[in-house]
Symmetry: C2
Subunit: 219 residues, 2 copies
DNA sequence: GTATTTTATTTACAACCTGTCGTATAATGA
DNA sequence: TCATTATACGACAGGTTGTAAATAAAATAC
């Protein structure tokens, strides 16, 4: 056995990987994920097709690699919002905003991926991400407050994760996104809160003033 | 132009179509939807591959054809449960049962389809089906009771449709389905009710007796 | 700066897939 | 029985994937 010499990472490696990642994200809004072939990707990245296999197993592997950093970043932003917990229970108006904000910023991407041109693996990845974030940052923390949940916390997390996907799908298709990310996020929180109150035997109050959910014109 | 002669449908036509439909549904739990080729389907159905194109456009067309009858039937069953409305608001314990019952009966199928071996088109079809059923049979009817919704009814429908998919996904993966269809359905209803109350300015009461959501052993 | 190692290119290949031709066969309805 | 028409069959072009060889290029180590 040779002694493993910890060589410094070859610069070309990361460079090629980045080219491939960028090419994929660039192509998705153009022709949809499913329709993209490895040839398309490597052509766009100016890389030979066999080279692809030196770095990624297949298209899905590349997709996941492309998205990991994005979602890691989102997780951090969520963490900021939900800490401390008191801020959450007294003010629903920040929780989840970053998610919907992110979707709005990448609307072209999500509009395609939440289509039959998208990918099941991606949707499941998002579902799991949401389920984990909602579970770790919200439901489990609330469940600890009062240790007598009527409904399993992971049921609630999965419920809300699915609901959020349903909402995003509705939002992206609803007449050019007539609601702001903050509005959608708030609708979601208000609609979830009372059921969660009951499920976790909590007593978080819905703000008494009526929220402003009026549509807005795009300008 | 020839006069359209209304010939009786050739028996072979429906026979072949049914063979193809059955073959697909048979193959899905075996190797996943995505991995199935037309060759697989026509082999299983004992039909020549070019014949496939005489009846269906592609694999997805066949899938939709296979599922249409199933979902039409489900819609009817939903309709029964939600009519009359009074029965609904006073008794949460029937709404949506048929959906979860159906999933339990076809667990093998859904376990594969809600996987990266499944299909986005299928998931979107289910999402739309759920959104329509929940909208038409539940939310819109409740919204008419009191014409001053705080949140758009179609937001609520999409929210619940997504939530149901999230729940089904959780349920199928949760340790061999430790909850009965009725339990899962009830959890879902109880968790949704209070938020919907607020959103639609209603006053449906959550039953005061504690529901039984204890897990059960499979025997 | 030079040598060595790693990475990338190129070309080629086998295997599979799809969609669509004709033409021949056989079942069906009239 | 007879005309119709669904189906079988074989074949084709064009696309895909994953892998293999030998060659060229680039980065690191010294």
């Amino acid at each position: 056995m040779e002694a493993a010499i910890p060589r410094k990472e070859d610069r070309r490696k990361e460079r090629t990987r980045q080219l491939l990642r960028d090419a994929l994200l660039e192509l998705i809004p153009e022709k949809g994920y499913e329709a993209i072939s490895l040839q398309d990707i490597t052509d766009r990245a100016n890389v030979a097709r066999p080279t692809f296999y030196l770095h990624f197993k297949d298209k899905q592997d590349l997709l996941f690699s492309s998205l990991r950093e994005i979602y890691d970043d989102l997780t951090k932003r969520q963490h900021m919002y939900c800490e401390p917990l008191e801020l959450l229970v007294n003010n629903l108006n920040g929780v989840g905003d970053s998610d919907f904000q992110h979707v709005a910023e990448n609307a072209d991407f999500y509009k395609v991926m939440l289509t039959d041109k998208g990918s099941m693996a991606f949707l499941l990845m998002v579902l799991e991400y949401l389920s984990n974030v909602i579970g770790n940052e919200l439901v489990n923390k609330l469940a600890e407050e009062n240790n007598s949940a009527r409904i399993p916390p992971d049921f609630i997390s999965s419920f809300l994760a699915g609901a959020e996907i349903g909402i995003v799908n509705w939002w992206l298709k609803s007449n050019n996104m007539r609601y702001s990310p903050q509005q959608v996020s708030r609708m979601m929180n208000y609609l979830s809160l009372l059921g969660m109150n009951w499920a976790l035997k909590l007593d978080i109050q819905v703000p008494s003033e009526e929220p402003d959910f009026s549509e807005y014109d795009h300008g």
